[in-house]
Amino acid sequence: MEAFKINKSSKIILLIEIIFPIVLLILGIYNGLLQTLYRSGIIHGNSFLGIEYYQGLTLHGVINAVVLTTFFAVAFGNALMMFYLRKQLNKFTNILSVVLMVGGTLMAALAMLSGKASVLYTFYAPLMAHPAFYLGLALAVVGSWVAFFGWIPLYTSWRKENPDKKTPLAVWGMLSNFIIWFFASASVAVEILFFLLPWSLGWIEGINVELTRTLFWFFGHPLVYFWLLPAYIMYYTILPQVAGGKLYSDKAGRLVFALFIILSIPIGTHHQFMEPGIEKGYKLIHSILTFGVAIPSLLTAFTVAASLEYAGRKNGAKGLLDWMFKLPYFDKNKYLFAYGIIGLLIFIRGGAGGIVNASYSLNATVHNTGWIPGHFHLTVGGPVFLAILGLSLYMITKILGKEVKYKTLNLMVPYFWFVGLMIFSTGLKMGGLEYGEPRRTNMGLSYLNMGGDSFEPFWLFTTLTTVMGGIIMTIAAIFYFITFFGTLFSKSVNEGGVVEFPVAEAYHDEPNIKPVNKLLPWAIAALLIIAAAYYGPIKNTLDNTLTKSPTYLPSSPVPHTH
């Protein structure tokens, strides 16, 4: 498929949506590295260079897991819609969405940097942040909705013009992703607008803490699929072509994205297995549904592996397994393959660990220990992060007509990241599972303070392993920043101004069965399942919470008065 020439406003907006979060990512990565240093006791204190531990943790989480991922999903979605539907974006929604997202992010960033929002990205009511933090994040989320609303008329008019064609798989995947995002983030919008914001402004007196937690995790787990699905779109529609082959089955891809629509959301209670307020039966139901959401990922593992095997055989493999070695791992011009395949390899370990967390009472062995960040750095910090880095660079070269500046350095990014992340997550996972190391804790100040009363020597080894991994990951990130900004400021080699992606053809391309190839029935089914799965837990939190909580600042055990 040919490159699609984009208009000037789309060009500027896409550039902002890609470059702005990558600049913020410098701060996010820096605070990530510092976390490992604090936790191991290398930095032994409350703050370093003017940023406190929990403030830095909030910055790390919000920037890396919310800002970068949301901006990327919108930018990648904008580019895919234009490329596959061959239509310019609606100027009004495009501008409104980027203004809301950038403005909201800056509001939240100011609140965090001024130290008035050290409540982590999970909010943790009744700890209170500055209203600008809640409002800023809400605006950023609404901005991403606006982008989605802008795609719907483009899609429906494309359908009218092409009544006999199947929806392009990438478009199908991206629309599925934003259906999930819209349903899920509606609950966090309710949490912010009806509870946290009026409460932090002093308009309402107390809040039901367990209810806010349930509303958060209603959003918080589908959020991870919102991170993941853009990477899946890359695996299905881009990777097979870059590898030199075809997508094994188009239908499997469609089915996977549709299954995510119905299974991503009604599973959030698995973050609350160890909490009071919700009955066991509901927790078990959410556990079953969480196991269900592993199915589309297992199917993806098969389909992508089959696609790569096909590519390997096309590249000349003859034996049973030698196709694995006939893939462009070290081809500098096919760097998207390295970013993709390394992410996939990481995800095997990430997904397997995730099944442990979802396993109902088995969760007691790992809940809130270092195992959990060990796990999600192998998912959001693995496949998701690498897909974002690779594709952000790729889109920049197309929009600005650049050639990647430091090709060898760029190719080293995923490999260094892989090595660092494996060491890093081993430290965290072992620390959590074997030695009960708590997550989100400035252990350098207490348990790893040699000479202090609460020194715990058995956490030294695992936290230092984490530091080693963290340093290698940071080096990989520095390689990336050099490549990204080097490319950005290099001379253009062609006129650019386009969006273009490798397009993987389907090996098994089934005919268009019209009723199945519609998203609306899946979305309606999702709403029904969500209502059934969440009616009980929400009623539970209302029935079982006896007292409402006043507000607290993280710095004081005395309730905050307005």
Partner: protein, 147 residues
Amino acid sequence: MDKSEKTALTLGLIFITFLFFLVLILSKALGQDVPECITPETIFESGELVTIEEGKHYQLKSVGRMWTFEPAEVVIPVGSELEIFLTAKDVVHGFYLRGTNVNMMAVPGTINYKTMKFTKPGIYPIYCHEYCGSGHQFMKGVIKVTQ
């Protein structure tokens, strides 16, 4: 979908179902269930250890608050059954007894419940493992199980 793909899907389903049965065995047959949801009349305000049967059966009413557990230290004899009732006075806290399956959240306005039989003597530290403000890393308690 071709045949191999259907096989992969079926194997995936079987694998997941098998894992889920292991989960059921663990929680229902081996008695390692998730914490209980208690619907109390009132929330207790202060923590205490209540003796139900000397040397055998105790109830711990534990209150998490910024940045300590109340009571901070509990002493019980080995072989005793401890019923843990947990709540929080101010913000959300964690209650993690290292080396055991006691891993609970303390949420204001609700009561969490779990029982644990201590068959080995020793010192069992309790860590708060949920971020609860600037003093979080110092929030620790202990259960001492004596001979």
